[in-house]
Amino acid sequence: MMKKSKKVQWFWTWVIGSVLLRLILVYFPKNLNLSSRPEVSTPLTSIRRLAEGYWLKQSSMSPYAGSMYHGSPLLLTLLGPLTVTRIEGQPDHLLCSLLFVMADIVTAMLICATGKKLQAAYSSSLQLVGLHHLSEDSDVLPSGDFAALVYLWNPFTIVACVGLSTSAIENLMVLLTLYGACARLAPLAAFGWVMATHLSLYPAILIIPVILLFGYGPDAPPRKLFRQRKNLEVENSTTGDKSCLEDELINEKSMRSVFSWRPVVLFLFWALLWSSYVLFLCGIYVQQHGGLQEMFKRTYGFILTIQDLSPNIGVFWYFFAEVFDFFRSFFLIVFHGNILLMIVPLALRLNHRPCFLAFVYIVLASMLKSYPSVGDSALYLGLLGLFAYELKDMQFSFFLFSGYVGVSLLSPVMHNLWIWRGTGNANFYFATAIGYACLQIILVIESVSAMLNHDRMITKLSTAKLQNVKS
């Protein structure tokens, strides 16, 4: 008990520390110029563009007039007034910064809560399979707290937060979805999913993990094991007398392997409700400026057609700056198709681990995004902490870590050489972007393969145990 309270205290110390660090950085003059860094502010997440959109709106023009703002009108109503409010003697965007700090903390808390839910579900399911010792091991590291701290102390998150990137809000919405689905709160999950999709389109693919979460419950070992176990127990029960407890266990097991439609339908219903509500609000906002069609053209259309070729940490800007015009649409389709193509194979293979599936989808989306920023990386690196136990045998983890450090140090240097000093050229910076893409690819592949290996290990252990019981 003492140990636990100490641990809690330790956790909160670190959380408060991260908040203090953010506040200190916010008070640096001009936000340390972070808000104009290409790593932080893409055309979609830049606060300056948002301020311009708000200004246009205030001067009774369409916020989408010109090619400045490409975000959601709802974000404009939320953040717009904050960008113009100045407090005497305080930094310019103080209110915005505070909002983003709050968003970060809420996200971290949601990660923490999701982690707790996942852990509870996981240890219970391990118990069901009969591998108690595994779950006891995992108690050493509370993955929720760990992931939350990873998220809060990740330099990427800090930079995105201090640089006033709106990706903090997108991340919050994604986490709302995941938490809502884990806690089986259909309205919350639906709200998060609708908002996240509305803000940045890519989280739309999270609908598959969310449906799986509602259908099957949180991550568990492969369902085959439960069936084997169940069969065995049914066999046993025919011979011996069954107790009340065992009956319950069997019920739960059967529930785990059956897809329950009710919460899924509820989720879909809420999603429909929320999305029509969001569309209605947006419709009111952009009514005089071309309506929803214009909004979709300027937000989703802008994301899908990659019109802005300013450098970011992705590879598409340079690719589409160099590619021949007649191939442009072909490659647009291929690159966006790359995300969609992988959805089904991953969903088939990882359907018993919907949360991990969601993590993989998020990594894929942030890797193949049109305008990626470090805020997206911050999200998946935080989520990675949730699966620390399962992925403890991951290969190349040290290489990946040093790769991330290296790229995040090298990329600003190359950018500086190219843009500010003029001594380097675009290929220098593009090389770091390619390196970064490779790192993310390795991360995805290795984490998926480690997770599958982990499942294999559990299967092996479980079947071995079953055979022991049988014999």
């Binding site: 001067s59 007039a65 010109g66 843009i419 390619i434 690819i441």
Partner: protein, 663 residues
């Protein structure tokens, strides 16, 4: 953005002017030349040719006597109400050459090509007409005016002209190089070309050696006062050249020669003399203008000298006095209405011919120092910031001595306000953040709303339209300096969108600063000058306006040499991702192990079973008969591998479906 009801801005008066002029009955041509010494030892020569032609409905097929047919067709075809095209090299020096006289506000133009046109067509057709017009003009004048065709290079200022709302288009090409190939077609529009008359003076080397030259073509269709129908076309061609005369030694050496303005004559600046008029011209005159500051100085000098005889005001004094000496006695002298105002010497060149050539010369005898009248605020524009990511444009306005006079004149009023209009067009790759507009007045930051009366913005759209900002500012008269600052991000272009010399940078066209409260016009006493089109032009009230510098913005460039490398490397990375992720998902370790174990044992058997299936033989019949033939059958089957066969079939099937359904 509601349109202001009472905005008088930049071009509006210029557009309204032709309506005032009387209807044209017959074709007429006039040629005039204005010479004006400038304070910094230079000389301004301003050629003005005007051709008028009546328009009648059947005139399309008609030949004109004087009027160039190509222009008449242009007007007819594109329904042009008014148009101005200028080719300029060099920058008008507002500080030294003045910014408050009709010449500078009408003829000082931004470097490169500037074109604006007002069309007499419904608003939705204006763009189409503009595009066709740019192509026609580009052919007519051997210039790349057709680059103004793309919607990202021209814009439609809203407040610049009230009368032509929605039908005005404005575009500039700051990079356009101007040379003789543009001048020759321009001269061809004159009835005498450059064979006779004043245009014969245009010696190409002297013109293109000049500090500033601007060749302008202004076209207006005038309306008959009675029925409001088009009654005629007025084509106004001007060439403004600022030259440095060669130092001409007149034999006598003066002690302080350096301070004395250089003496010049037409033959010394152009290397030619006027051999007579163009016989087709209604009037052909040469004018010599002494501006206000100079005249005041001259008068002071004359008063101070003892020899000055106040009663002698004959032409001889005007020709030859203490300060200067003219080689030819003027036919007439015009004096401005106000006291101590500019003088205009008029020479008619009717009487000159090949044997008696006209060669006006001016010999200075006494050093005179004066300054040209300035615009109320001296405007300049510059870029701030370093690096290729972002920057800001700053327009600085500095008060000149005129502002002080203005305050003195308007001292009665409680609050004297100075109105300044700014029109700024930026290309789309300069992504301006309009919300960052800052105003520093007397080096102190002020709220934008304190001074900006109206602000019209049409933000730039990527690859579609340039950004346009129109500001109506109102400053207190006692202002010393004002700086407008606006931030921008530099865009990144596709590799094909860069010009061949991408590293030179991109130009931001000049901003137009105008002062609608001030009108530059000369007022002459004599009524007879209304015959002269140029003088009536000088007498027209035109708002004072000045163009700022063209800005050169360096943009980052991608590597032009290796698009293939980028494409292949990126595709490889994605192939890597796709392949290895699929591989991870597909792999089943347990099965692989089992397969590996059984592989050697079962390989032959499996193959034969499939083969048997394929050939329709029953495995029971073949297996016991030929137990040892497995190796031979597998080797023979390499030609007719059923899997391969199936694959070929599949591909063929897909091809057939593709052919039928997708074509």
């Amino acid at each position: 953005m509601a349109l202001p009801p009472t905005t008088i801005v930049t071009l509006s008066l210029l557009l309204l002017l032709p309506i005032l002029s009387s209807s044209i009955v017959e074709e007429a041509f006039s040629e005039e030349l204005l010479l004006k010494p400038l304070p910094d030892r230079k000389i301004l020569t301003h050629f003005h040719f005007q051709t008028e032609a009546p328009i009648s409905d059947d005139s399309f097929a008609r030949h004109h006597h004087l009027f160039p047919k190509s222009i008449a067709q242009l007007v007819k075809k594109f329904h042009i109400k008014a148009m101005e095209l200028s080719f300029t090299q060099g920058r008008w020096n507002y500080e030294r050459w003045g910014g408050f006289d009709p010449i500078s506000s009408q003829n000082a133009k931004p470097p490169g090509v500037e074109l604006w046109a007002v069309f007499d067509v419904p608003p939705h057709q204006v763009d189409a007409y503009w595009k066709n017009l740019t192509h026609s003009l580009s052919g007519l004048f051997c210039a790349s005016i057709n680059f103004l065709e793309s919607s990202s290079s021209y814009s439609a200022p809203k407040w610049a002209s009230q009368s032509a709302l929605g039908s005005l288009r404005y575009g500039t090409l700051p990079r356009e190089a101007v040379c003789t190939e543009n001048l020759t077609p321009w001269l061809k529009l004159l009835p005498c070309r450059d064979k006779a008359g004043l245009s014969a003076l245009m010696d190409r080397p002297s013109i293109y050696r000049s500090f500033y030259h601007s060749q302008r073509l202004h076209l207006t269709t005038s309306k008959a006062p009675a029925d409001g129908l088009d009654s005629g076309i007025i084509l106004e061609q001007t060439l403004t050249v600022v030259l440095q005369p060669n130092i001409q030694r007149a034999g006598i050496s003066y002690p302080d020669e350096i301070k004395i303005q250089p003496s010049w004559s037409l033959s010394s600046i152009f290397g030619r003399k006027i051999n007579g008029r163009c016989v087709l011209a209604k009037s052909s005159n040469v004018y010599l203008q002494f501006e206000r500051g100079l005249v005041t100085q001259l008068e002071n000098i004359q008063k101070n000298t003892v020899a000055y005889d106040s009663n002698d005001t004959g032409t001889e004094v005007l020709r030859r006095n203490l300060c200067f000496e003219l080689s030819i006695t003027p036919d007439r002298v015009h004096r401005e209405l106000e006291k101590s105002s500019s003088l205009l010497y008029e020479y008619s060149i009717k009487g000159y011919n090949d044997t008696e050539q006209f060669d006006l010369g001016l010999i200075w005898k006494y050093p005179v120092v004066w300054s040209s009248p300035h615009a109320p605020l001296y405007a300049s524009r510059f870029l701030t910031g370093s690096g290729n990511e972002r920057g800001s444009i700053a327009i600085s306005l500095k008060s000149t001595e005129l502002t002080k006079d203005f305050i003195a004149a308007n001292n009665v009023e409680e609050k004297c306000k100075l109105q300044v209009n700014v029109l700024q067009i930026v290309p789309w790759y300069i992504k301006v953040y309009y919300h960052t507009l800052q105003i520093l007045v007397d080096e102190k930051p002020h709220a934008v709303t304190d001074f900006v009366e109206k602000m019209g913005v049409s933000p730039s759209e990527d690859k579609v339209s340039p950004g346009l900002m129109e500001l109506v500012l109102r400053f207190p008269c006692e202002i010393k300096s004002a700086v407008l600052n606006i931030e921008f991000d530099k865009g990144f272009l596709h590799i094909d969108e860069y010009p061949p010399d991408a590293n030179q940078g991109f130009d931001i066209p000049s901003a137009i600063i105008s002062f609608p409260d001030f009108h530059a016009a000369l007022q002459f006493l004599n009524n007879s000058i209304s015959n002269s089109p140029m003088l009536s032009k000088l007498q027209e009230k035109s708002p004072v306006l000045s163009y700022t510098e063209v800005l050169l913005v360096p943009l980052t460039t991608p590597d032009f040499s290796m698009p293939y490398n980028v494409i292949t490397i990126t595709c490889t990375v994605f192939a890597l991702y796709f392949g290895s992720l699929l591989n991870v998902l597909r792999r089943r370790v347990g099965e692989e192990e089992r397969l590996l174990k059984n592989k050697d044992a079962n390989k032959a058997a499996i193959l034969r079973r499939i083969l048997d299936k394929f050939w329709g033989r029953s495995s029971e019949s073949t297996q016991p008969q030929q137990p040892s033939s497995s190796s031979s059958s597998s080797s023979s089957s390499s030609f007719i591998n059923p899997k391969l066969f199936l694959k070929v079939l599949l591909v063929a099937g897909i091809a057939v479906i593709w052919q039928y359904y997708l074509k």
